[in-house]
Amino acid sequence: MNRRQERRLAAWLITPSLAFVVLVGAFPVVSQFVLSLTRYDLKFPDERGFVGFGNFARLAGDTVFWLDLWQTVVFTVSSVGLELAIGLLAALLLNRILRGRMFMNATMILPWALPTVVAATMWSLIFNDKIGLLNSVLIRLGIVETPILWLGPGVAMISVILADVWKTTPFVTVILLAGLKSIPHHYYEAAQLDGGSRWQIFRSITLPLLKPFIAVALLFRAMDAFRIFDLVWVLTGGASKTETLSVYIYKVLFRYSDFGYGSAITVALFAIVFLMSLVLLRFMKVASEPTQ
């Protein structure tokens, strides 16, 4: 069989899987777009119909949407920022361990291995103001005098971020650790021979070579953090300024049975995350270009 025939055979063989992926992947997305252009509220079955961009016009004036969007941004920037910083530190430390490495790695991964709902339930008990571990430790150590209402007004977002950072930093650590391991030893040896300080080595060798890995971690974490639902839902239900876009979408779809409008918000969220990932991918491309 010549090259062309081989390629054609390959195309035919791939077609069934490709068709399946397109169907399963593209169909829901397309139908969501179509739904977002309709008025479709289960409670008013007689009012169903095409409304063009009506749902999006409503979205533009929906203060809850904009507020939740802002709260989602605050959450994403804070938790991803913290996770990158702490993850990098952890990776650097873990990279230096020679003995007990497997044990340390396994322990480090543990929070990430827990199902989010389980972790969230655990944290809601820790954050409980009367019987929770956090307050009891803080009060006993004399750091605070009166119990803090961790899941209440003013502090709730901090608690949600804390729980998320605890849970997903391991993900960043794993990626960055792999990155650190990929840096050839002789770069460091050469730098030390040249008399570079630790900080100079870090800045000129480690960090630039880690950039692609940081970019990957950043991309994944940003996309995930922007869509967060279960952690917020279990900890606060969205109260006290922690309601994120996903929580709002859930409410519109399942509490209000408003599938048209809910789809419009979903399309908006999709667009934002898509744009965000395009920007980050650009950053990745720039980052992985060879540096001097």
Binding site: L42, K43, F44, P45, D46, V64, D129, K130, P147, L149, L151, G152, P153, G154, T236, G237, G238, A239, S240, K241, K251, F254, R255, Y256, S257
Partner: protein
């Protein structure tokens, strides 16, 4: 050997296949009744009795998950798909408008429900645009629980106005490990129930006519209510700030641990206060919630009603069963065996019911003055608007006045759609 094995397998498969069909023979009509579980078994035994005395009809009890929202989602899914296999649905009091407007449940014939036989609150909850869509099955309402012993020691009677109430708290609560009054202040449906009780108690309301015709007055009533509620939280002797994260069980636990003088909760908490493990056995009293001077106390209604599906294929038989399961006799049995609060007036005077549940007499006093949450197909949105703005005001994130104005504006917008 191989042939024998194959024959056995084929025979077994055929047997299984055939046993699948023929369970409903042409003569028996199956009526399916979907509702949350009744752990007391009263409902199941009522259904058994009905089936025994009604040859040709078989009623099946389809037990739904305990979580109210899960039931709601399941029913909305079935009914949007015009599912005909379920004939009767047990509906939460706040769903009537939604299900009626969507055409999922039908108005009932007059013979099925005589309003004068029932408590007025539940009857209002099954009415939409002047027609009755369901039969009230059992009811629930917000109630004030108090520590009889502590009030007696302080020489105080049960407070009826908010001023007297706060004074009682200040007199009795003198140490920091005791709270005056715990209720449900988390941002969820329960907050709406609590908020409305305060609002009605100062003479306000969220009645659509009132909101649309007199928005400034409605806003000022809500402002007054939010100030009252914030005042309770700000007062160290009354409500702890952590109430902003409390749902029913959080508040109830504090009370049954003996750490609160007053509790606002549903009737179920009575059973918990009197059971083993509670630190307040025999020390609890029940009363209507306080009101503002010269006003009346009202409680928010909870409970469940039974409606007929618009897609049922056996209307006649379903209605007959509906009459039975909501009859005096059925409600009496459920009251005695399951402590389900009846919706018929006469059941509260039944000696057997009162013997099994002596506290029903106290609850009845509260039930005479119950009111409904706003009745609209858009209720979930309305609830979320109230929840969010009330919670923000109580958290101190916005002023009572700002919250009140937001509630009035947004509710007016939703209600006029």
């Amino acid at each position: 050997m191989r042939t024998a094995t194959i024959m056995t397998i084929v025979a077994l498969a055929a047997a299984f296949a055939l046993s699948g069909c023929g369970s409903e023979n042409g003569d028996t009509i199956t009526i399916v009744f979907a509702a949350g579980n009744d752990p007391s078994g009263a409902t199941a035994s009522l259904i058994e009795r009905y089936n025994a005395t009604h040859p040709g009809v078989e009623v099946r009890f389809q037990i739904m998950p305990a979580n109210t929202d899960t039931q709601h989602d399941a029913y909305v899914t079935y009914l949007s798909a015009h599912e005909s296999s379920i004939d009767l649905y047990s509906l939460d009091v706040i769903w009537t408008a939604e299900f009626a407007r969507a055409g999922w449940v039908e108005p009932l014939p007059e013979a099925i429900v005589h309003p004068e036989e029932f408590l007025s609150g539940p009857i209002a909850s099954v009415t939409y645009e002047g027609k009755i869509y369901a039969v009230p099955w059992f009811t629930d309402a917000g109630v004030l629980y108090y520590r009889e012993d502590l009030l007696e020691d302080a020489g105080l009677s049960v407070p009826q106005t908010w001023d007297a109430f706060v004074a009682a708290c200040e007199a009795v609560v003198t140490s920091s490990d005791m709270d005056g009054f715990v209720w449900q202040g988390a941002r969820y449906e329960g907050l709406v129930c609590n908020f409305l009780e305060y609002l009605w108690g100062v003479g306000g309301s969220l009645d659509p006519d009132h909101l649309l015709a007199e928005p400034e007055l409605a806003a000022s009533e809500i402002t007054e209510t939010l100030n009252l509620m914030s005042g309770l939280i700000a007062n160290d002797a009354v409500t702890p700030r952590s109430v902003l994260t409390y749902k029913e069980e959080d508040a109830r636990r504090l009370f049954t641990e003996g750490r609160s003088l007053f509790l606002r909760n549903w009737p179920y908490a009575w059973g918990m206060a009197e059971e083993e493990g509670s630190k307040v056995i025999g020390k609890t009293g029940i009363a209507p919630l306080p009101h503002a001077k010269n006003r009346t106390s009202y409680s928010t209604i909870g409970g469940w009603n039974i409606a007929l599906s618009s897609f049922s294929e056996h209307r006649q038989e379903a209605l007959e069963f509906l009459s039975f399961i909501t009859s005096e006799e059925a409600l009496r049995l459920r009251a005695i065996e399951g402590s389900y609060m009846p919706t018929r007036l006469v059941t509260y005077e039944d000696p057997a019911v009162l013997e099994a549940n002596p506290h029903f007499a106290d609850f009845f006093e509260v039930f005479k003055n119950t009111r409904n949450r706003p009745r609209s197909p858009h209720y979930p949105r309305i609830s979320d608007v109230i929840q969010e703005n009330v919670h923000r005001a109580l958290s101190g994130e916005i002023t009572s006045k700002a919250a009140a104005e937001k509630i009035v504006t947004e509710l007016a917008d939703i209600l006029s759609q």
